[in-house]
Amino acid sequence: MTVVKAENVIKDYGLNDQVIHALRGVNLEFQAGEFAAIAGPSGSGKSTFLHLAGCIDNLTAGSILVGGKDTGKMNRTQLAILRRQSIGFIFQAYNLIPVLSVEENISFPLTLLGIDKKEIRERTNQVLKEVGLDGMAKRRPKEMSGGQQQRVAIARALVKKPALILADEPTANLDSKIGREILELMLALNKSAGTTFIFSTHDTMVMDFARRLIRIRDGQIESDEIKG
């Protein structure tokens, strides 16, 4: 089943009266359960693609279908609801809500979905165990290490059982040991839950973990390699 389908995607930015061509006719398709990395140097367009796939940015031309739905035909609210229901985000800077505890951060996407409290509690506890944060539920993000915060971010992305998780350089702020642990965790979750992960990265370790490696340069796909 196709989770994301990008057809001839073009994205231009205006910057100081200049037009920056961030993506120049990108065609990509991601199937359910993929663990893919988009790699490339800074400014290559990898994060831009992730933002478009995550429906937080607008296309200049082309189309992106998420779960078969054409995001170009949706209004802001519909895009927000699509993100809420189907897409999880993991950021380089974790981006947790500092005033909420670990369990509140994790359960927040579920409360937005209007799921009942009992189910929220059960799913939150289960995800906490899966990411190895059992016993840290009441802590605030500032009381945790970077690696632990990233685990919370993964749990938050995962708890609503999205079709797609987009991770923008998730290991960039972590040392290599912790980075590896995080990647192993995500890979395990990918295998157990079948959730599609798409990373943007220039970290070789992430590229090694990825089961599919897409290289992008100057807004164009340079290579698309599926590893054995």
Partner: protein, 430 residues
């Protein structure tokens, strides 16, 4: 395309508000100092609203009391000719052409809602052998009036501070505390005065001072000489008539219906005036809406601090806004977080203002403010006690709190809406 066509569920409508409120509440404590400044801005404005509202309502009550007790009762009847020359306090134009006041009072007493009907005479007197040359003679049925009214506005007593009230029909008077102080007269002294009767003839009278009163109403305490009504009626050759009748109702709200009934009873040769038609009462009725506008301006000025704070918060938390967008929060939900935060700041600030203002109003509702000491004779022309008790009631407190919360919240809605226009992708790039 609608959500259904896209296969998107509408669950987003169901949940999250409680969590948004929780986030907003906790957010206000992220920068305590800034939050406390916001509390203080709204709190100070609300404090002034509470105190000034209490003071104005206290003044209004004092004016209403004074007008009702000394000037008009709830309803006053005079002849139309007296009304035309009322500045001179003429006694030659009695009510109902000099008809017996007792008969008039008996008829008026039959009107539903009438509690008391009293005759009164008020006229000028020239004083001989005194440092004070002019005074106003006030003839009232002392015992009856004292039974119906608390003449002393401050202590809610009859106001006699020395001696006794003049005996019915006696050659006696009582003078005010200020009058006694200025004239140097005291109990047992005789006053030699001249006045003009209903027949335009000079009348000389030398009553003895039996009492000194203090009503805390400067006009009466300084200028009035109280005499028994019947003694003055005889002195001024009013026969059985009276210069005016004051009517007290069971409830002041019945004044209008009593006014109409009395007017109907006595005809157009008599002027029947309702207490609320008094100039100062009418002025004070207009004052409150004006003050409400001033209070709103107070709050709007105070709100600027919260507006500024919300603008700063949005700037500081731009990445969080981006992240909220990524989590799937709609524009409305993002606005709610900041709007709830503003409401919390306004509500807590207003609550602090209400508490402090309420304490001040509560204290001064028991211990009056001496307006004379504060403002000299500024308010001497107003029919008002020299001592103002601040009004203390929950309506004032709740109104001030609601005003504070509503005004501050509405004004901070504008910067809160700004947060919704932050594009998630732009926010995340910063």
């Amino acid at each position: 395309m609608n959500n259904e066509q896209l296969g998107i569920e509408n669950k987003y409508k169901q949940g999250g508000t409680a969590t948004l409120i929780k986030i907003a509440y906790r957010n206000i404590w992220r920068n305590k100092r800034r939050t406390i400044f916001c509390f203080a801005a709204v709190g100070v404005a609300v404090f002034f609203i509470v105190v000034y509202s209490s003071m104005i309502e206290g003044m209004i009550k004092s004016i209403n009391d004074t007008v009702q007790i000394y000037e008009l009762g709830h309803v006053r009847v005079v002849s139309s000719t007296f009304e035309a020359e009322k500045e001179y306090l003429p006694v030659q134009y009695p009510v109902a052409d000099g008809a017996s006041w007792r008969e008039l009072a008996a008829s008026i007493s039959n009107i539903p809602g009438v509690r008391h009907v009293f005759p009164r005479i008020t006229t000028f007197a020239s004083l001989q052998e005194s440092t004070i040359k002019h005074a106003i003679l006030w003839g009232i049925n002392i015992a009856d009036e004292m039974a119906a009214n608390n003449f002393n506005l401050t202590d809610r007593s009859d106001g006699l501070i020395e001696g006794r009230w003049p005996a019915p029909g006696g050659n006696e008077i009582a003078i005010g505390r200020v009058f006694a102080h200025k004239s140097g007269m005291t109990i047992g002294d005789e006053i030699f005065l001249r006045t003009t009767s209903a027949h335009f003839s000079d009348r000389f009278w030398s009553p003895m001072i039996t009492g000194i009163f203090s009503f805390d109403y400067i006009k009466i305490d300084e200028q009035y000489i109280i005499a028994d009504f019947e003694r003055l009626q005889r002195l001024l050759a009013l026969g059985e008539g009276t210069q005016s009748l004051v009517i007290f109702a069971d409830d002041e709200k019945q004044s209008a219906s009593i006014t109409a009934a009395v007017q109907n009873l006595l005809g157009n040769d008599n002027v029947v005036t309702e207490w609320s038609d008094n100039y100062w009462v009418a002025v004070m009725r207009m004052v409150m809406p004006l003050y409400t506008i001033i209070f709103l301006i107070f709050l709007i000025v105070a709100s600027f601090l919260i507006i500024n704070t919300v603008v700063m918060i949005i700037h500081e938390r731009i990445k969080e806004i981006g992240m909220m967008g990524c989590l799937g929060m709609t524009r409305n939900e993002i606005v709610k977080v900041f709007f709830f935060e503003s409401i919390f700041m306004a509500a807590f600030g207003a609550f602090a203002g209400v508490i402090v203002g309420g304490i001040v109003a509560g204290i001064f509702s028991e211990y009056p403010i001496r307006m004379g000491d504060l403002y000299g004779n500024t308010f001497a022309e107003m029919p008002m006690s020299q001592s103002i008790f601040l009004a203390f009631n929950f309506f004032i407190l709740i109104r001030a709190w609601i005003m504070g919360v509503v005004v501050a919240s509405l004004f901070t809605l504008i910067p809160s809406i700004k947060s919704a226009f932050v594009e998630p992708v732009e926010a995340l790039r910063r």
